[in-house]
Symmetry: C2
Subunit: 509 residues, 2 copies
Amino acid sequence: MTSRPPYDQLVGELREGGVLESVQCLLEWDQETLMPPRGAERRAEEIALLSRIIHEKKTAPRVGELLDRAAGEKDLGPDARANLREARRHYERARKLPADLVAEIARTRSLACEAWKAARRANDFPKFAPWLEKTFHLAREKASRLGWKDSPYDALLEEHEPGMTTARLVSLFGELRKGLVPLVKAIAGSRRRPDRNLLSGKFPAAHQEEFARRVATDLGLDFSGARLDRSAHPFCMGLTPDDVRITTRYNESDCLSALFGVIHETGHALYDQGIAPELVWTPIGQPRSLGVHESQSRLWENQVGRSRAFWSHYLPLLSERFPSLSGVAHARSGRGADLDRFHFAVNQVEPSLIRTEADEVTYNLHILLRFDIERDLLAGELAVSDLPDLWRSRMASDLGVRPDTDADGVLQDIHWSIGLVAYFPTYTLGNMLAAQLHARARADIPDLEVFFARGEFRPLLDWLRDRIHRHGSRYETEELVQRAVGTRLSTAPFLDYLRAKYSPLYGIS
Amino acid sequence: MTSRPPYDQLVGELREGGVLESVQCLLEWDQETLMPPRGAERRAEEIALLSRIIHEKKTAPRVGELLDRAAGEKDLGPDARANLREARRHYERARKLPADLVAEIARTRSLACEAWKAARRANDFPKFAPWLEKTFHLAREKASRLGWKDSPYDALLEEHEPGMTTARLVSLFGELRKGLVPLVKAIAGSRRRPDRNLLSGKFPAAHQEEFARRVATDLGLDFSGARLDRSAHPFCMGLTPDDVRITTRYNESDCLSALFGVIHETGHALYDQGIAPELVWTPIGQPRSLGVHESQSRLWENQVGRSRAFWSHYLPLLSERFPSLSGVAHARSGRGADLDRFHFAVNQVEPSLIRTEADEVTYNLHILLRFDIERDLLAGELAVSDLPDLWRSRMASDLGVRPDTDADGVLQDIHWSIGLVAYFPTYTLGNMLAAQLHARARADIPDLEVFFARGEFRPLLDWLRDRIHRHGSRYETEELVQRAVGTRLSTAPFLDYLRAKYSPLYGIS
């Protein structure tokens, strides 16, 4: 036994943590979808115990010893080196956080979340304010334990987007803002408006589910290793590549919100299903980062699912399945003016108050606002009590809309209440990377849209499998992006994509 | 920390094992109901790891030390003493089994189960024979590790039915046989036959599910802490009293098999829901034994669900829900000749080949056969190759039917293939205890059947909660039975129940 090389021993030890993380995923998935309500309290205890066991396994002194000894092994291949790199990163971070602080953060998280729910319901920001103070106080403490050079925000960002820095985000997001604000203004100034009435009708949830399942299958989701269920908030949970579960919710007067939701989650699920089997339950068997994960969901939702080519295939099928769909009763050909009107209707741009309902043009301005606020809160340069006013004025200046209530303003997102600081930027990084991947895939597969129009998505999926999915965390993000698209992460392809798509729709030059 | 009394420390340590056992239940439930097929291989690894961690926690030397130290504590209450008794029992048993043997049993179990499935499909007993040899070889090894005085069967029985002995079973089952064989013969000799055509029709699964859910709710199942799903083989899984899950399967040309299945599983579920909350995740928080568990499912299925009073309430509802039900279209009154005919039809006695389809009179003769065979196999007094012939001749002499194939004979049950030896008797113990509990409940609640006829089951449930459910494993079985019914476990109430019910139905004296 002891004669096994240290690297093999290390991988064996870490594998157990990986297996238990899959188990924890199931506990959480079950809680969100099926668990009887009375089960919640004991489920929390089950999850807490499992988290503790996983943390203990990850931070065991034996892991540190094996890491040191394995580093000296000759003849380790590149995947083994990458595993050591990731294992070292997890180990160092986990060891820096004292158990007391971890427990205090966990306790605050569940109490603050309850306070947030109550405050949002009552539109009562002052009720949540002390919890927000405490959450950011703990986030500061966490950042200082983890250590940082330029900004405490860096320390937290590393958890969600390893390798990314605050300075880089400030620069990228600055460029983005410079491109987005004028585009939003130009669109707002256009006299063209899509006819959203085209999309009205009555759509039974069971029919929507059947249609969504069909589309997900067409996109490449393998249901022999996946499930689609219902939950209050849509999500994707990859237990392992062989068991990936997505959820959605259905609105019977809207046949598209669930569908786009399923396409989005399918994008996540295709990534989870595509990780190479031999990497599973090793450190590099994890998806690379939240930003990379979001690039997959956004690419399938927007660059694919909101494209004209996509709807030239699916509009006839949709109007056949939902004869009550207004205005497209004769759209069976999927061509011409019906398709143009429908395509415009599913790509409406309209500044709005709620991030999760925002279109792909205005969406990132919601993120930039949150990024600026959480950085300032963390640095102690912004008082929690000033937040509601700041939110309102910034929404007005960036998007031209002003929330009447804090529930539709600063209280709308769950993230801060559950301690997720430095998480929002990963959404925008995902949007940027999606556009880069899309542009590169189009260059590599010139007929990409012809395939879409035939309902064929395998060429795109194979390309993503090869460039992104199968690698898991084998490469650091910088290298993964460079290998996939040939350049660094950048804003230009995303801005180009938006301009190319929306200028003709809104008739702007 | 170390100043906590050893008993408190012990309970804390063991609680973690209990929490992880609940997690393991979820993994198994999910696998049988929802898991995508490709997930099976990794799920096996998840369950194996969790089993190992649970085993390590239970057998840790620290548990042994705490057990010794806690035994000397003064002022422990009766529940604490009971916890020490159960914890000691689990610990001693677990420590006696070497890890190699446990692993070998687990490995053989999954291979033998696959071999059994193939052999049953192909009706090829010789294919399964070597696996059966191996299974009993390992069972003998296990029994000898665990140790025994009178019979190796005692050592295995202790796992499923603590406190029971082989000698006692031989005596009880001998009495039972003496009563059952003549009753079966008398019924076979009767010229009366129920009209099973009454039950024919076409019954959509969704409607059956709705009806079954309604009945389960009426019986007292609290769906805020329970679920009903579908699976290939019906079962009940109590993760905790706050999360109990039952399953069934639907046959659309039979509106009763799923319903009786659900009533049976509801009986199990009511027991799991009824364990006192403060006992959960302590050693005495477990149901007492398989026999006691089965007494609950059988009592609700047979003494309640197949009673005339029960159907006087539900027959009108059933015929309303399923208008296609033959012969009871005018049964809305739930009285008189229709009810009599229906009651007879759901209580048909007919010797048959398959245990799981047997009626409540012939059922235990199937068990007695298996009990005799597995004792002889374990003792090495019966050769595996002699099994098929022995099975056929014993079925012919006991039940008057003779399987044409081994698939309908010795190959019909999964139990031995998955290493469950000394498990079958618990079914019959459950039938016996169900009759004892029913007789005692009728004595304590004279109007019990009047309540049933009104669809009121709370009086019976409250009685069972008080006598059985809430106690978990607080008392040893002998004491639990004595407290509940005032006598030891015995066969007379069951035989009396059968004679009182079936003599009038079949017109025998």
